[in-house]
């Protein structure tokens, strides 16, 4: 076990899998010679050469379309999106092809494709480059949606994605790239999809979250414990498709109150799905409505002060926790 950054954990996962399986390759914009806009692919071109580390033109639909074809014929391509925002250009390839090929082929053809890249706000990239897409992709059957919130999960989940036989949207949090944490050294360390975890135990309120907002929830939980004696249980969903709600249900059975924290806008976001599932399944256990903490319903401003105002803040989570406890 060694302390590594989220960024290095992702690079390590890819390089270990490229060492393990010659069919794994990576393609994307500025990932080779330039070594990646976020330095995720540093050193990879030198080590694996241009046949396996492919610099592409600025043509996301073409990149993903090419990768879908590669995957159908047995390769295991990873496509790096400079940010996940740019994958919208390739949405038809992702949602209408990658996610449908097995279904259309009657189960004969798999598409083992990983599309990965950073998303989210917090690094002043303004309205077009700060969005989060988990609910957009998780809406569609046929594709996995992964949202790691720790360096260890980033590595373990990415390895599961690369080894799997399904298309995966691997949504990294740009704001977590520098975050450090313990990461197992074992090259066969993987984290399975569809296994949510209890990131922090508590008895008073359940906070369901994922990715960066899960980290923010942990910070708030510690603060509330110290300052107010409120014990929050934080559930880290890890993957939104497949979605494992069982730990959240078990937690609600104990706390009888839940909030959901997401960076996305409120309408039709992942939090709505999670809150509705809790209400459908655990209705009789609830002592309060399930509240959502979300980003503000505006395009992300560039200005630092406005960007901070538009994204969920510790104080928002504190308010929601107190609201479900009837202490506000």
């Amino acid at each position: 076990m060694a302390e590594k950054s989220y960024r290095d954990a992702i690079r390590e996962a890819m390089m270990e899998e490229m060492d393990r399986d010659p069919n794994v390759l990576i393609m994307g914009e500025d990932i080779g010679v330039y070594e990646g806009t976020f330095r995720i692919t540093a050193g990879m071109l030198k080590k694996y050469g241009p046949r396996r580390v492919i610099d592409t033109p600025i043509a996301e639909a073409g990149m993903v379309g090419t990768a879908v074809g590669m995957a159908m014929l047995g390769l295991r391509p990873i496509v790096e999106m400079m940010t996940v925002n740019f994958a919208i250009v390739a949405a038809d390839q992702i949602l209408n092809h990658a996610a449908k090929v097995r279904y259309f082929s009657g189960g004969q053809v798999d598409v083992p494709l990983v599309i990965r890249g950073p998303q989210g706000a917090g690094v002043q990239l303004s309205a077009q480059h700060s969005q989060t897409f988990e609910s957009f992709y998780a809406h569609f059957p046929g594709i996995h949606v992964v949202t790691p919130g720790t360096p260890a999960d980033a590595k373990g989940l990415l390895k599961t994605a690369i080894r799997g036989k399904d298309p995966v949207m691997f949504l990294e949090s740009a704001a977590l790239y520098g975050m450090k944490g313990e990461v197992p050294d074992d090259p066969d360390f993987t984290v399975p999809f569809g296994k949510s975890r209890v990131a922090r135990e508590g008895s008073d309120v359940t906070i369901v979250s994922f990715s960066r907002m899960m980290q923010l929830s942990l910070t708030v939980a510690d603060k509330l414990s110290k300052e107010e004696g409120i014990e929050c249980e934080v559930i880290d969903l890890r993957t939104l498709r497949p979605l494992d709600m069982e730990p959240a249900y078990a937690s609600v059975a104990k706390t009888h109150r839940a909030i959901v924290v997401q960076e996305q806008w409120k309408p039709f976001g992942a939090g709505a799905e999670i809150a509705a599932s809790i209400t459908e399944t655990m209705f009789d256990e609830l002592d309060a409505p399930v509240f959502r903490v979300t980003g503000e319903d505006v395009p992300m401003p560039y200005a630092r002060n406005l960007e901070l105002l538009a994204t969920p803040h510790e104080e928002h989570i504190v308010r929601a926790v107190k609201r479900v406890m009837y202490r506000s």
């Binding site: 009888h256 209705f283 009789d284 256990e285 609830l286 002592d287 309060a288 009837y326």
Partner: protein, 443 residues
């Protein structure tokens, strides 16, 4: 306005889910009505567009009266009132509305109305467009405006969290006695916990009294008769007037029955009351005495071929008696579940007519209120009602010994036109055998 029961002559419109001009589909709930016993959703009988609403929310309509029309394809929508009325206000009487409210005598009159509407359309008052501009009457929005929401007349709805309701039901605490501390008076788990100590103890020991709530200040006020209260008054007055009542009281030993009940609860984990056993006992005993399971008629007395037990249930609006059908053929656990489900529906006024009509015998149990004994008024066309008191430990003499036994008093009110004293007494003797030898009830 459909006729939902023999006694129903008129009904009240509680609320419209749709407004004029809204599309409706066959089978979709269009409005809620209050009949003499229950609230019901009325469903559209055909696909189409809802025409002018003839009977506004809160207004009465006679059985057979027109509430609104569903316009088929090609039929023109009625123009909405110039300023759409708020939901509770009476509908403005306009010539077109009045004409619509009358059943169309023939196709011609309807065509005449259509023509009028199409002229109106051609002048630019396009129904839908006007409607879109009108004030919204979205029910979810009304809900958020706090105190301005008018409560339906009669019992006030408790706002309570699902957990609070579950806890209250498990602890046997009535939400009526709980003060809600949450937003808009919502009763939350903490409120139930606060009060449950006292109440649960009271439930365990009959001698302990529930905490007295601070009574509301006295005031003189008139409570308008609800349709339900009118029906109760009419039917019970009809009963004591023409029916010559007499009363038979018996004191049953229920020590064994309470023990069997406890064992069943332990084994099955089920919720079971003494009353559930009594429903089965009463039904089984009726099998032996078809002359009790009978109804008076001017030409003949009808003995019923099936045994349907009405169970009196108190609701905030008044008494209603959901019916356990063929109770002699059902297990106690089945009866218990059915009673619970029907009582819940009764409290929400969601009982359907076939769920509260057709009883052949009725029981009423005030044991839970600590009433030792009382007399019930016969629920026509039944010939008898059994009033059941509380089961409690009492000192009795058995074989010259003073012992403490669980005892319970029951009083049967009988219609003397159908049942004579001895006939009734024989029935109670049979009932006693079932109640005091409760294994007969569970085998």
């Amino acid at each position: 306005m459909p006729k939902m029961g023999d006694a129903m002559s008129e009904g009240k419109v509680i609320r419209w889910y749709k407004k004029a001009g809204d599309p409706v589909r066959k089978g979709e709930a269009v409005l809620e009505i209050e009949t003499d016993k229950v609230n019901l959703d009325l469903e559209a009988e055909a696909d189409g567009t809802l025409g002018t609403i003839a009977v506004g929310e809160g207004q009465m309509a006679p059985v057979g009266g027109i509430l609104a029309k569903i316009l088929g394809e090609g039929e023109k929508a009625d123009a909405p009132p110039a300023t759409p009325a708020p939901p509770a206000a009476p509908v403005e009487e306009k010539p077109a509305t009045a004409a619509e409210a009358k059943p169309a005598a023939d196709g011609q009159s309807r065509r005449a109305i259509d023509k009028k509407d199409s002229i109106r359309h051609s002048t630019g008052e396009y129904g839908e467009a006007v409607d879109m501009k009108g004030p919204r009457t979205d029910r979810s929005i009304r809900h958020d405006q706090g105190n301005v929401v008018a409560m339906p007349q009669g019992g006030e709805r408790h706002r309570s969290s699902p957990l609070a309701r579950k806890m209250a039901s498990e602890m046997g605490v009535s939400l009526d006695t709980v003060q809600g501390s949450g937003p808009r008076g919502r009763i939350v788990a903490a409120d139930v916990k606060k009060i449950s100590g006292g109440q649960a103890a009271a439930a365990r020991s009959k001698s302990a009294m529930p905490a007295l709530q601070q009574p509301a200040a006295l005031e003189t006020r008139q409570i308008p008769l609800s349709a339900m209260r009118r029906t109760i008054a009419k039917r019970l007055a009809e009963s004591t007037g023409p029916i010559p009542h007499f009363y038979l009281t018996a004191d049953f030993d229920v020590t064994n029955l309470t023990s069997v009940r406890q064992q069943l609860i332990d084994i099955e984990g089920a919720k079971l009351s003494v009353n559930d056993f009594m429903i089965r006992a009463v039904a089984l005993a009726l099998r032996h005495h078809p002359n009790i399971n009978a109804s008076w008629g001017s030409e003949a007395i009808t003995q019923h071929g099936e045994i349907h037990i009405g169970v009196a249930v108190a609701t905030p609006e008044g008494l209603i008696t959901p019916v356990i059908r063929n109770a002699d053929q059902k297990f106690v656990l089945e009866i218990a579940q059915e009673v619970r489900a029907l009582a819940e529906k009764a409290k929400n006024r969601k009982l359907k007519p076939d769920e509260y009509q057709g009883s052949t015998f009725t029981i009423s149990n005030l044991g839970a209120w600590g009433i030792e004994e009382f007399t019930g008024i016969i629920n026509p066309p039944n010939s008898a009602i059994l009033a059941i008191g509380a089961a409690e430990a009492r000192v009795v003499v058995i074989d010259g010994q003073i012992v403490i036994r669980e005892r319970m008093k029951v009083t049967m009110s009988c219609d003397h036109r159908v049942i004579d004293g001895a006939t009734g007494a024989e029935y109670l003797r049979t009932l006693r055998q079932y109640v005091e030898q409760p294994l007969r009830l569970v085998v």
